[in-house]
Symmetry: C2
Subunit: 321 residues, 2 copies
């Protein structure tokens, strides 16, 4: 019996991770922690998985220690995060607390309860900052230059992981996860919001329309959340503690290409207009990662192409209309 | 009239900074912020300086904003910190909050109140971590490798400074301050605690005695707090925003040499015994900085030799017995 504790259990990535666990041969006990009640219906997995949910703010340190003392999980997947760059510009302090401080509480609770477990600390491609085109795709040894409060919070989390690995021999594996997208993603994020607004055009009976956007010339590396959770499982079970792994597709896509793909899949024609309010201070122009390390060390491969993911996101949003 | 706001006003460094301001020709208004009432008697400076004290925890964001709205200082010297490495191992979360989070609150309050001021963000030589002997003395472009929760918190503060400088044009100057020592330093810190215990030997009427210590083979770069505050003033008024400056002596001293110097100055003979409890996880072996940048750019020079500082610390502690 494998015991996995998942923080940020109410979120998008957790829902896909549980679905992945459901597909495994192994017996798994899942302990989900979150401030808010899960939006996904996990009861449908309970014929096979044993799932227990704990409503907790990870800043409640004593409560967290009690949970670890009682459960003693084998694996901890730390997904809880305020993962929006935009939000971090508006609420830097809150963003910092809900990334760096909650993580520090988590690993300290694990240490103080002497819980022997492997921990996955999820970081972000945002940690790299602006990288010269010549240095793309980005490898893990690239110098990091965080450009937003969110990115700084993720770097802090990573540095703290390294300190706890070195000082206490804790088994923390780290990721730098690139933009993940997929069904059930919150519409406040950029790609799902494009999908939503392009579907709005279709469902209003139009064949063409306009959407407002930020800077569409920026390039990101998108990876399907279902491939991401496979990577997380591989890293949790087989990754090397103290090591950092990119999780990415290796391919950069301009945001205007994203809009075009969605429009094609939805079957409407879309024009765009830039709204300066959507432009973030000091944004990274181009982020494309190299998945070489996780591919060669752990045999991970992404299985879903970008257009397929977009297609599934459209189907998912349409099914909820 | 120059308005200077000082956080961490109740502390050791603030007391020396106020003393330094007292010696200036200029008219200065000092606004001191601290959680606790200042232990130093600042009324003796009030014949020349206008000093106002505000009791505040920097986590009280709204109160902080009100203070900035009302005062609109020209300079902010941010000294508030939990600056003990040892403490950060025991209370990592609290240490992190009282370094990184309070700093983020501070700069965000300054930004949101549109206060045009120059800010000094004090960092630490601990950010460098273990540096190869060949790379000593450490220059500011040395790669940083924080090895303790405290060091990570200081790196986070520095990264956040850089983000706010780049994104909002804030005028934040950063230091990496090496171990500062001097009169009035809290006896929980290592050098004052050596002084105290060696004075205990003398005042118990003995000519020799034993003290328990941690690892005495480690090497640190000690700089007199009175030279440090001169550097802080120079940086606040003339440093380049977005730049980092070492504040150090350029000379490494082994802790056993420190014990020897104190013993000689006190006039007793001291043997030492290692207590493993005093040995920190993962400590840096040797930290020696290069003051080249602040010396050449701003003309700073340290004025007090190590033995002179030790002498003054002994006199100070003796006067309080």
């Amino acid at each position: 019996m494998m015991k996995i504790l998942i923080t940020g259990f109410s979120g998008f990535v957790a829902s896909h991770f549980v679905e992945f666990l459901y597909g495994l041969e192994e017996d798994v006990e899942v302990y989900g922690l979150s401030r808010s009640t899960p939006v996904f219906n996990y009861s449908k997995f309970e014929d096979k998985l044993k799932i227990m949910f704990f409503q907790i703010d990870l800043m409640e340190y004593d409560k967290l220690k009690t949970i670890f003392s009682e459960i003693k999980p084998d694996y901890v997947l730390h997904l809880a995060a305020f993962s929006s760059v935009a939000y971090s510009w508006k609420h830097p302090s809150e963003s910092f607390t809900n990334n760096s401080n909650i993580f520090l509480n988590l690993i300290n609770a694990i240490r103080e309860t002497d819980t022997k477990c492997r921990i996955l600390s999820v970081g972000s491609s945002e940690e790299y900052g602006n990288v010269n085109h010549a240095d793309l795709p980005i490898r893990e040894n690239q110098e990091i230059k965080p450009l937003s409060p969110y990115a700084v919070a993720r770097v802090s989390q990573e540095l703290m992981s390294q300190v706890f690995v070195d000082a206490f021999g804790m088994q923390i594996i780290m990721t730098r996860s690139f933009n993940h997208i997929g069904p059930r993603q919150d519409e406040r994020f950029v790609i799902p919001s494009f999908v939503k607004r392009i579907l709005d055009i279709k469902y209003s009976g139009q064949t063409s329309g306009e959407i407002e956007t930020g800077d569409l010339s920026i390039i990101r590396d998108f990876v399907d959340v279902r491939d991401v959770v496979t990577a997380y499982y591989l890293l949790l079970t087989k990754g090397t503690p103290g090591e950092i792994y990119n999780i990415c597709s290796g391919r950069g896509i301009r945001l205007d290409e994203v809009v075009k793909t969605i429009a094609e899949e939805v079957g409407v024609s879309v024009t765009t207009r830039t709204n300066p309010e959507y432009i973030r201070p000091n944004d990274n122009k181009e982020i494309v990662g190299s998945p070489y390390k996780i591919e060669t060390e752990l045999g991970w491969r992404r299985t879903r192409k970008f257009r397929e993911t977009i297609h599934d996101m459209i189907i998912d949003q349409e099914s909820c209309r």
